[in-house]
Symmetry: C2
């Protein structure tokens, strides 16, 4: 049995996230169906984590076991020939037999895109979060830096997540504006449910002047979800990399 690692790009607009669900189109189910078509085997496809409906991935990682004699590096070509055009396998290879896309992971990088224009964007709809009010980038940069470190991020976790340990390490962040697009990137050991979208929503509130940048540490320390900003739209979020 070969353990095949896939790197998957997907436009999440048409999907109810990664994870298999009854009565809903998901990236996992769609990719598993493509594997059945190509190999004739019903393989369980292990993913590197859940993603919400509408969230995108530049390089989601998944793995499955197969007895197929397709060369590992050819799976990308074979699967792309049967996958819909909003899912692309950008890379395939044979991984170590112990490799697991979720449990072997040492961290992730996410990107969040805000389109800061007066009117809703037509071309970048479903690809960004649209904010029409002017945002102060300098304040947002100052606030973004406060997230680096090891903290209990309970204030930045969706209510009812039921996670025992909310301590996570954020290794780096960056925030830049190019034209009308604000790009926020965050890399860390792991992320709580909705954590990046809540951080993005908080940074947007900082940009609007509703939250001062130096309040971030207090919001983290308070461990109260109500002190952070709203969960920003799923359409602005991209999983960029999974580290091993």
């Amino acid at each position: 049995m070969a353990n095949i690692k896939l790197i998957i790009e997907f436009d999440g607009t048409g999907y109810h996230g990664w994870q298999s669900q009854e009565n809903a189109k998901t990236v996992q189910d769609t990719t598993e169906a493509a594997i059945v078509k190509i190999t004739g085997e019903h393989s369980a496809l292990a993913g590197s984590g859940r993603t919400d409906a509408g969230v995108h991935a530049i390089a989601y990682v998944a793995n499955f076991r197969t007895t197929s004699r397709i060369p590992p590096e050819r799976f990308s070509y074979a699967l792309n020939s049967v996958l819909p055009d909003d899912i692309t396998i950008v890379w395939s290879e044979e991984a170590h037999e112990d490799f697991h896309s979720r449990f072997s992971s040492t961290g992730k990088k996410y990107r969040y895109l805000v389109c800061n224009t007066e009117h809703r964007p037509a071309i970048m709809r479903n690809r960004t979060c649209h904010i029409s009010e002017p945002l102060d980038i300098k304040l947002m940069k100052e606030a973004a830096r406060q997230f680096v470190g090891t903290y209990d991020f309970s204030a930045f976790m969706a209510a009812g997540s039921g996670v025992e340990n909310a301590i996570r390490t954020i290794r780096s962040v960056s925030l830049e504006k190019h034209g009308e697009i604000i790009t926020f990137e965050i890399e860390g050991s792991g992320f709580l449910y909705n954590m990046v979208r809540i951080i993005a929503g908080t940074l947007i509130d900082v940009g609007r002047g509703k939250i001062p940048p130096d309040a971030i540490s207090d919001i983290i320390d308070g461990k109260n979800r109500n002190n952070a900003g709203k969960t920003a739209a799923a359409s602005g979020l991209y999983l960029v990399e999974v580290y091993y």
Copy 2:
């Protein structure tokens, strides 16, 4: 009667181009229908030129006459409230009574995006032209420069266009690669039917090594459509600006 100028962004994926057609969804018809909804008047919406099915616009210009008492600068907000989300009016204002979006134009700028990746892009599908072979950017830059000047561009015009005078002036071009995306921009006095897409297809052939960069002048001089490259995909083309 006020002459209202609109600047329109649209994702052309779902449309059979700008120009009104029987039995096909077009940007012109969709925007005219929105004007009827807002003003109650059936106004003819004059556009700055035809666009092909699937071609996008960052700033298409159109104008119409109305007796509506909506303040000119509020038309963008009013129309966006009834337009589908793949068409956005990014600006509206009252123009001079003689202003015509096509006849008053002194030139246009187009952008063409190539996604140069091994596998088809999922997120940038319908937004770029995908070319999987490696492209030599240096050769493409060299070739792009040859288009600047005033020439008879018959070789870069769709067959059967029936234009009497194919002389056009290209004022500037640029070609850059950032990551996997090659951005080609071209500005000129006017463009023949399919001209930018044929130039893009020719530059792609240069990048592949099929056409040497110094052959461009000969191709222009030959005035023979068969010597130029194929018409590149509509999905990579954006109307960026109309000059007045």
